[in-house]
Every structure is written in C-alpha cells, then in structure tokens.
C-alpha cells in the first residue's frame, strides 16, 4: 500500500483551504512537483493566485525546480510569501 504525500499548507494557503495538511496520492514512481501544484489548484481553485507566488519544499528542502520528483511518503510544503518580524 503506497503512503500518500503529506501536503503542508501555511498561512494564507491554509486559510484558503481550511486545512493544515492535505493527503495526496501519487504513483509508486512519484510525480513531478508541478503536477502536485497543478492538482492542488484543480482541487482548490481559490488557491491559484497564492500558489503562483508561493515557494515549495520537499522534505524540508526548497525545490530546485518544479520538475523535481515527489515520491510516496514525502512531505511537501506550500510557503506563501513570508512575513516575519
């Protein structure tokens, strides 16, 4: 049984979706990150504008690009623009 990808949503992304974490099923060989992002927008259309200004991480590392493969059991994070301080 394949473990899902855990998609962690922060700040405005979390508020728009109403959930902190979304489970995402991917095939055994994984998916390019851009397909996860596109899938999120299809499932949560209001998230679109936020996704276009967000950064993405796989297992706590920033993605080099959206072609990076996301595999079953990975953690995937959506970071809207930062606002600390």
């Amino acid at each position: 049984m394949l473990r899902p990808v855990q998609v962690h949503l922060f700040a405005s992304a979390r508020q728009l979706v109403g959930q902190r974490t979304v489970r995402w099923t991917v095939p055994a060989g994984g998916l390019p990150a851009r397909e996860i992002v596109a899938g999120l927008e299809r499932r949560f259309p209001r998230l679109g504008p936020t996704l276009r200004v967000s950064r993405f991480l796989r297992n706590d590392r920033y993605l080099a690009d959206l072609e990076e493969t996301v595999r079953p059991g990975d953690e995937f994070a959506v970071h809207p623009p930062y606002g600390g301080g």
Binding site: H8, F10, A11, S12, L57, D60, R61, Y62, A77, H79, P80, Y82, G83, G84, G85
Partner: protein, 151 residues
Amino acid sequence: MVVRLSRRSLSLAAVERRLRTARSGGVVLFAGRVRPDRADGRTTVALLYEADRAPALDRLRALEAEARRRFGARDVVLYHRLGRVRVGEVSVVVAAACAHRAQAFDAARYLIDELKATVPIWKEERARPARRPPRRPGRRAGRSAGSGRAR
C-alpha cells in the same frame, strides 16, 4: 550564537548574556515590536506568528553563517517569537557583535531584512474595529464577562 524560535517572551538581558564576546567592539541589536496602528484605521491587538519550523531554523542558521562571512560577525542572535504576541511586545530580535561598529550596523540590517524576506515565518492579525467607544472603568459590571478582545 543563538538561533531560536519560541513561544516565550524574550528579554534583552538574555541577549546581552549571549553577546559577551570580549573581542567585539560593537554590538548592534534590532528589536521589532508589534504596533497597534493599521492602515485601515482598525487597531491591532495582537499578531499570531507561525513558522515552518525545520526550514526556518535552517534559514536562520544560514543567515548567521552569512553574517559571519560578509561582515565578520563574531556573535549573532536571531530570535523570533511564535504564537500570539500582543501589541508592544517584542516579536523579533536580531543582534550582531563585530570588531567595528560599521560592520555591526550592516550585519544587523542585513539579518533583519533577510529574516523578513526569506525565513518561512508568517503573521496573522488580530484586530478590533476602529472608533470603538472607550469602555467604562467599572469592569465586569454587566452580564458579559468577555474581554472585548478578538480571538
């Protein structure tokens, strides 16, 4: 070096203890506090801060290393509060100890600018409406024991 994300409030005395490197001539410290005024006329009562903790700590440690490399910082403090921080409280402290004051100013400025732009921390406002009539000093006189503060 101190890099910390914490729900607990921070005193400058604690920062001072961390910056006792005798060879540093200058220490510059920036403390950011929650301000009450908002552009829309409402009044902020608190900010709620959240972080993506592991990558945030990684970025803070990278900023510390960069401050050492670029400005010769000998000691660095990077401290950000998480959770609810009320108006007037300190939400963030950065400090850099360097041999000379110009470096220390540049390092502290770099650290707070980069922290705000590149560390995965976010804030959410808790505000109350504008022009709320002042509350009477006789407290809890009516039926409501509510504090009048947004949650």
